[in-house]
């Protein structure tokens, strides 16, 4: 079934009887060509592109809970291609280009909205770094503009230009950055994959891998054994827990990142703003809620919830930047488990076990990567060679000294 405005009108006039399930709920088959562990954004996108780009449709996505329940369902919805390093930026640029045509591609309105991202700078050194980054973005085919204070003021006159502890000296504007309705991404990919024959199996948890003679033959699950030619782990947040079952230790720690939404407001912020002198970034959803976040809670956690000090730290940043928010209320907070990697960059790679593949380590940036992650992971699974924009995302890069460290923080996951 194709979605369209006409279809909506037709259904409205006929009692909405024609809408079908957005995805089926099949029982698992005995085996598949590819079993993807994890029904989050990346897993569903991988299944979609395996089917669409590579014609591989004998695929199962197995999800321990409900699809889209991981970080794709608990993030701050930002998309961007504003990375600095050569190992990263081409990948994120591919991702942004995929976002730009995504809705027409999978026939689902995920509300991709490129209203711009503004990274504020507060010192000369930050401006130098912004210039280097902006140039790297442009050289990689992305877009960037360097604004001075007046340029920022023209966009957002209500920021604190009067008594700021760290005055705004300008900003790096990335106009193609923006936001996407996060849940819809999971549902859109699920629908697209399902229509192409992929089995999405919810409430099915992987309990182990069947590995014989260095070859992965399938997965043990709460719904029984499922055989596979290739098993693709895609469970960011739970990567260590799942891969431990295959005997692997990863260069990853799991951390909690909190995010927040305010009560609904008439338009305040058009685009996304990140505060360069505190831990605060913010956008406004189409429903009117300010969606904002800041820093990690800093300690290892699988609890999907955080603590009060970080809430205060984030909102202190918010008030420092936008004093007019004093009477606005925070409505809800939540927490996601981040796969924090040792250099802040992800992995899309084969493992030492034949037929077992790994995708993870997305830190707090997995959402924007969803299309390219699926695209490149599908490429790797289908061809056994890394996609050209994902050649650096290797598990052995630390052994080789080829870190991709955007923030320059070294092997300290919670600082990335």
């Amino acid at each position: 079934m194709r979605y369209s405005g006409l279809k909506v009108i037709k259904e409205a006039l006929t009692g909405h009887k024609g809408w079908r399930p957005t995805w089926r709920d099949p029982e698992p088959k005995k085996s598949y060509d590819v079993v993807i562990i994890g029904g989050g954004g990346h897993g569903l996108a991988t299944a979609y592109y395996l089917a669409k780009n590579h014609g591989i449709t004998n695929v199962a996505v197995i999800e321990k809970g409900w699809i889209g329940g991981g970080n794709v369902g608990r993030n701050t919805t930002i998309i961007r291609s504003n990375y600095l390093l050569d190992g990263n930026e081409p990948f994120y640029e591919l991702s942004l280009k995929l976002w730009e045509g995504l809705e027409q591609d999978f026939n689902y309105n995920a509300m991709v909205s490129q209203r711009g991202i503004l990274n504020l700078v507060h010192t000369d050194a930050q401006r130098d770094a912004a210039r280097r980054r902006g140039n790297a973005m442009i050289l990689n085919g992305s877009d960037a503009e360097l604004l001075d204070t007046d340029g920022v003021r023209a966009m957002y006159p209500f920021l604190n230009f009067n008594n700021a502890r760290f005055p705004i000296k300008g900003g790096l504007l990335h106009r193609r950055g923006g936001t996407v309705r996060h849940d819809a991404v999971a549902w859109g990919y699920a629908r697209g994959a399902d229509l192409r024959g992929v089995d999405i199996i919810q409430n099915c948890e992987v309990t182990g891998f069947k590995i014989e003679n260095g070859k992965c033959l399938g997965v043990e699950t709460t719904k029984g054994f499922i055989g596979a030619n290739k098993v693709a782990s895609c469970v960011a947040g739970s990567s260590s827990r799942v891969m431990e079952k295959a005997g692997m230790r990863l260069p990853i720690e799991s951390h909690v990142l909190q995010a927040f939404v305010s009560e609904g407001l008439k338009p305040v912020l058009d685009g996304v703003i990140t505060f360069g002198a505190g831990h605060f970034y913010c956008s406004q959803s189409d429903k009117g809620g300010l969606v904002f976040g800041g820093d990690l809670d800093m300690y290892n956690s699988y609890a999907q919830r955080g603590n009060l000090p970080v809430v205060e730290d984030v909102i202190e940043g918010g008030m420092a930047l936008i004093p007019a928010l004093g009477r606005v209320r925070m409505l809800r907070s939540w927490g996601g488990i981040m796969d924090m990697s040792m250099d802040g960059s992800p992995f899309i790679d084969k493992t030492h076990v034949d037929g077992l593949y790994f995708n993870g380590g997305w830190c707090y940036g997995g959402f924007k990567a969803t299309p390219a992650s699926g695209w490149c992971y599908a490429h790797l699974l289908a061809t056994d060679t890394p996609h050209k924009v994902a050649t650096e995302y290797r598990l052995d890069r630390f052994r080789k000294g080829r870190m991709i460290d955007e923030k320059g923080q070294g092997a300290q996951p919670n600082l990335h």
């Binding site: 429903k287 603590n307 008030m319």
Partner: protein
């Protein structure tokens, strides 16, 4: 969070409460005002709503005062812009949201049901245009059949560009609820910290009894309630406790609590979240009930409460029944109607009907009848409904529709016999049963359990650490059970702390069982029956979600937006779950619940930020010469938390470059002085001090002579350069090391890690002395001459006696002790001289005075930066966390003969490639062109692209010595490319400059000056 008491005995007819004003006079004032209540009828308050003037009384909320004045219409819904009035009388309110106050104090989405009335209150309706009565956007309601759950996911996709250009802007404008003024909030906020043995959350009968029990035992007790009156549901009911009325009992309890110094009673305080290990967040509204806070006083306070034990006594929330057009102003929860009548002496209308599935709803009828309000019908879904006196009872009947424009006029019933009946009523009091307020028990991911006998979720065993639950929050709804649970819960909690408390003889109170027959929605009718009134989620939407396979509760919530409004579904979630369960053929507990998360009720940004706003967002660190620099008219710059002088403009200088050029030239030509106190200083002592520094730094320190300083490069364990500084050896077992300003705290932390965790038996003691010494760089050919005037003559600081890289203790200005270091960042003959910080202000004055004959200049961070770039010294822009010693041209400094942090991993292949980036200098081929930091480097010819990128410029400045702009940066194989002309491209700003690769040491490359 008010405690709820249910199923009181029907002692109707006793008007429990006496107002302090004259009763008879009220009716004339406000059309729906009754007698009695807990308001102060003697004190009339003026307020406006949408510009119209009204009067209410002290003790009113905005909602009760508007209802008293005959105003039911208070808001519009989010999507369909349906007219709405209050559904509740508490913080769970979905409908009656207003913009309170104006200007910088304008507060959108304020629940009229909890906004305390004050004289001069100003409120306006929101999300409507042009007026609340005539809202243009109500046209959405006509098209509701097209605007079903998730319709937007299926359309607005073509043409692709139209989403951002057309559809989305319209949607964004229409969406949202209230608006902000964009003015800065003028009010202050505060934070604080409290400690207690027992935190009691909710001050209804359960909480009050718990606090009394614990307080009498001498425990440290905090009892908090979001309401401005203690008592919870006791204020809304007509029955008594013991011989007293409910209100009198509350007053007595409150008086006793107030007399105990170990008890802190906190009304107007919402517990917003249960955090780890007994920490609770609480927001106290100290000035929301007055026109404006007193000067210097906060509007709200965020308290962090450290509790050893906590008791949740937060009561329960009534839930509605869904039926067609159940959202008209006037359709309210039965308990709320009762609360308005009993507490606020208000009836929403003069004719009221009641619709219930339980006994509790009948009490609303009885209480209203006793107050003289006409009850036109009591509709009970149960065939075996109890009898009603004074109103017509329809047992086994349902409300199937309502009518009325901008407010309820008629309820249409389906009677047990199948007939329909229209009942006139301006208000319909609906009760579908009560849900315990389990929210805080779920903040640490606990999941509630279903209790069949009350058809509701109650807290399960997985409570937050050291929390217990009692009373209605635990599903024990009667007053007697509440009092018992409060007392016994307090005894149990305190006994775990070794405090003995006694559950004294409890007063008598009603103890009736609950009789509820679950009834979630009326199945009859083709129209819409609302579940989530604010977000306009109807029964049909839940059915559509089920049809489209959004069946998990989380999918249901996210697809329909059920429970995502400002009330977080407090009155709507249960209904949605029950309907989903029915459609899926499951039991309610199988469907589960969504996760309750903090905050319990929405919290202002202002209070979460507290005093950390504006210039006080973070502390400011000032250098010892700050005051003097201010006197000189210096420009200041933020360097971390420090404020440093950036440059010192002189009269006639109109551009900062003039000042900076002058400062550089004057320093290089004569002498300049700069406050360098901000560099971190760590005092390292102990027998193993040298061995310790050998571990910390890549280069060796063991053989550094006493009285000498050495440059040190510090690596991270991954081999990347981390920080640099100097180490001065004052004795065999005593060093003072410096760090960069930015890394002072981190280096000190890492050293402690090494000392305690890696080398625990080394004899090393560390302490920061950054702030203890005011340190000034004195640089330039005349530096020594200047210092010789300041350093006391008994100290020989000649080149022979005090050569480059010497250090020692001296006195200055006739006996003030000081430390002198002969080190140079500028490349000139230079010293750093340190005196105890209290003398720093005098010292800068002394130095400037002594320098007068040399035309000494103070220089700021800009000139400092120019001179270090001229010398090719790495700073923060070069030590950017991705560069190694090899990149910095200091590869040979990394000793291979010893173990140090980072040397092993610095040898990995990826960090030692042939074409590795190397730090070099750049000069423009055309001296008039600027070199810019952040430009990327490209070969002289060929494509400009990421693939051909050769490196980047890290730092750049105009060099007044060379008369052109210069830069340093990292270039692939840079050290072997000197003399090559390449391009520095800056497409970001549309610039491209031809630069020559040169040594990074632009000035005095041999270092003759600094040794002179």
């Amino acid at each position: 969070m008010t405690d709820t008491v249910m199923n009181a005995g029907m002692n109707a007819g006793t008007v429990a409460f006496q107002a302090d004003g004259s009763t008879g006079a009220r009716k004339g004032v406000q059309v729906n005002r009754l007698d009695g209540g807990l308001i102060k009828g003697s004190k009339a308050l003026n307020f406006t709503f949408d510009g119209k003037r009204y009067k209410g009384f002290e003790g009113d909320t905005l909602a009760s005062a508007l209802l008293a004045n005959g105003v039911r219409l208070m808001g519009r819904s989010f999507k369909y812009h349906r007219p709405r009035g209050p559904l509740t009388s508490g913080s769970e309110e979905p409908n009656a949201l207003v913009e309170l106050r104006s200007g910088g104090r304008q507060e959108p989405n304020t629940r009229a049901t909890v906004a305390e009335l004050y004289d001069g209150l100003e409120a306006n309706s929101q999300n409507r245009w042009p007026s609340l009565q005539h809202d243009f956007m109500a046209i959405n309601d006509r098209f509701s059949n097209f605007l079903t759950a998730g319709f937007y996911y299926k359309t607005f996709m073509w043409p692709a560009a139209f989403w951002e250009k057309l559809y989305e802007p319209i949607i964004r404008k229409a969406a949202g609820l209230g608006s902000i003024s964009f003015e800065d909030d003028p009010d202050a906020y505060d934070k604080g910290f409290l400690h207690c043995d027992l935190l009691v959350i909710g001050a209804g009968p359960t909480g009050l009894m718990a606090a009394l029990t614990a307080g009498r035992a001498g425990a440290q007790v905090i009892i908090a309630d979001e309401d401005f009156l203690l008592g919870g549901r006791l204020n809304a009911e007509t029955f008594g406790i013991g011989d007293l009325t409910g209100a009198a009992w509350v007053e007595q309890a409150q008086a006793e609590l107030a007399s105990m110094p170990n008890v802190r009673v906190m009304p107007r305080t919402s517990i917003i979240g249960a955090y780890d290990h007994g920490i609770y967040g609480a927001v106290e509204r100290t000035a929301d009930h007055v026109l404006a806070p007193e000067a210097g006083k906060p509007r709200q306070i965020l308290w962090r409460i450290y509790s050893k034990r906590a008791m949740l006594a937060a009561g329960a929330t009534e839930r509605p029944i869904a039926f067609e057009n159940n959202d008209r102003p006037g359709v309210m929860l039965a308990g709320a109607v009762r609360a308005y009548a009993n507490r606020w002496a208000v009836t929403p209308d003069q004719t009221v009907a009641v619709f219930t599935n339980n006994d509790d709803g009948h009490r609303t009828a009885a209480d209203l009848i006793a107050k003289g309000v006409k009850v036109t019908a009591v509709i009970d879904t149960r065939a075996e409904a109890p009898k009603v006196e004074g109103a017509e009872l329809f047992a086994g009947a349902q409300v199937i529709d309502t009518k009325g424009r901008l407010g309820l006029e008629v309820a249409r019933l389906r009677l047990a016999n199948g007939a329909t009946r229209d009942v006139p009523c301006g208000a319909l009091a609906v009760s579908g049963g009560w849900n315990p307020n389990v929210h805080l028990t779920c903040h640490q991911r606990g999941r509630p359990a279903w209790r069949e006998d009350i058809a509701a979720f109650v807290p399960a065993g997985d409570l937050p650490q050291n929390m217990s639950v009692a009373g209605a929050a635990n599903g024990d709804f009667s007053t007697a059970a509440a009092l018992r649970a409060g007392a016994e819960g307090a005894v149990a909690a305190l006994s775990e702390l070794g405090i003995e408390a006694k559950a004294d003889a409890l007063p008598e109170a009603e103890d009736a069982p609950i009789n509820v027959t679950p009834f979630w929605y009326v199945k009859e009718g083709k129209g819409r029956a609302w579940l989530d009134q604010q977000n306009d989620v109807t029964v049909k939407d839940v059915k559509l979600a089920h049809q489209e396979n959004f069946r998990s509760v989380e999918h249901l919530k996210r697809y329909t937006t059920l429970g995502m409004a400002t009330d977080q579904g407090k009155t709507s979630n249960m209904g949605g779950l029950a309907i989903m369960a029915e459609l899926a053929g499951k039991q309610i507990p199988e469907v589960g619940t969504t996760m309750f998360r903090p905050p319990y009720t929405p919290v202002s940004f202002g209070v979460m930020a507290g005093r950390s706003v504006g210039e006080e967002f973070r502390p400011t660190r000032k250098t010892p010469s700050h005051k003097w620099a201010e006197e000189q008219g210096a420009e200041f710059v933020e360097v971390g938390q420090w404020l440093r002088a950036q440059w010192f403009p002189k009269k006639g200088e109109t551009h900062w470059r003039q000042s900076v050029d002058r400062e550089v030239l004057q320093t290089r030509n004569s002498v300049g002085i700069c406050d360098v106190t901000t560099l971190g200083k760590i005092d390292v002592q102990g027998k193993d001090a040298a061995a310790f520094l050998n571990k910390m730094y890549a280069n060796a320190f063991a053989k550094l002579p006493v009285g000498k300083v050495r440059y040190g490069l510090m690596l991270r364990e991954d081999g990347i350069a981390y920080d640099d500084g100097t180490a001065a050896r004052f004795a065999e077992d005593h060093f003072v090391v410096t760090t960069t300003t930015a890394n002072a705290v981190l280096v000190y932390r890492n050293m402690e890690f090494a000392r305690q965790c890696l080398f625990p038996d080394m004899d090393v003691q560390l302490i920061s002395t950054t702030e203890a010494w005011a340190q000034f760089a004195v640089a330039g050919p005349n530096a020594r001459k200047l210092l010789q005037k300041v350093v006391d003559p008994e100290f020989d600081i000649s080149n022979e006696a005090f050569p480059f890289m010497a250090c020692g203790e001296v006195t200055v200005a006739g006996g003030c002790r000081a430390r002198l270091f002969r080190i140079s960042f500028s490349g000139e003959l230079a010293y750093e001289i340190a005196v105890p910080t209290r003398y720093g202000d005098a010292m800068i004055r002394k130095l400037m005075e002594a320098g007068e004959e040399f035309d000494a200049v103070p220089y700021g961070t800009e000139a400092l930066g120019v001179m270090r770039i001229e010398k090719g010294h790495a700073a923060g822009n070069e030590l950017n966390g991705t560069t190694s010693a090899l990149n910095l041209g200091m590869g040979r400094m990394v000793s291979k003969k010893k173990d140090c942090i980072g040397n092993t991993l610095s040898e990995r292949e990826g960090m030692n490639q042939e074409n590795a980036l190397k730090l070099v200098g750049f000069k423009p081929v055309n001296a008039a062109e600027p070199v810019q930091a952040g430009a990327h480097l490209m070969n002289a010819d060929g494509e400009v692209s990421a693939a051909t990128d050769q490196g980047y410029i890290t730092s750049a400045a105009y060099s007044p010595v060379l008369g052109c702009s210069i830069g340093i940066g990292f270039l692939k194989s840079g050290d072997s490319r000197k003399g090559e002309v390449i391009r520095a491209v800056n497409p970001l700003e549309g610039k491209e400059v031809q630069v020559e690769v040169v040594s990074a040491h632009f000035v005095d490359p041999e270092g003759e000056r600094l040794r002179g």
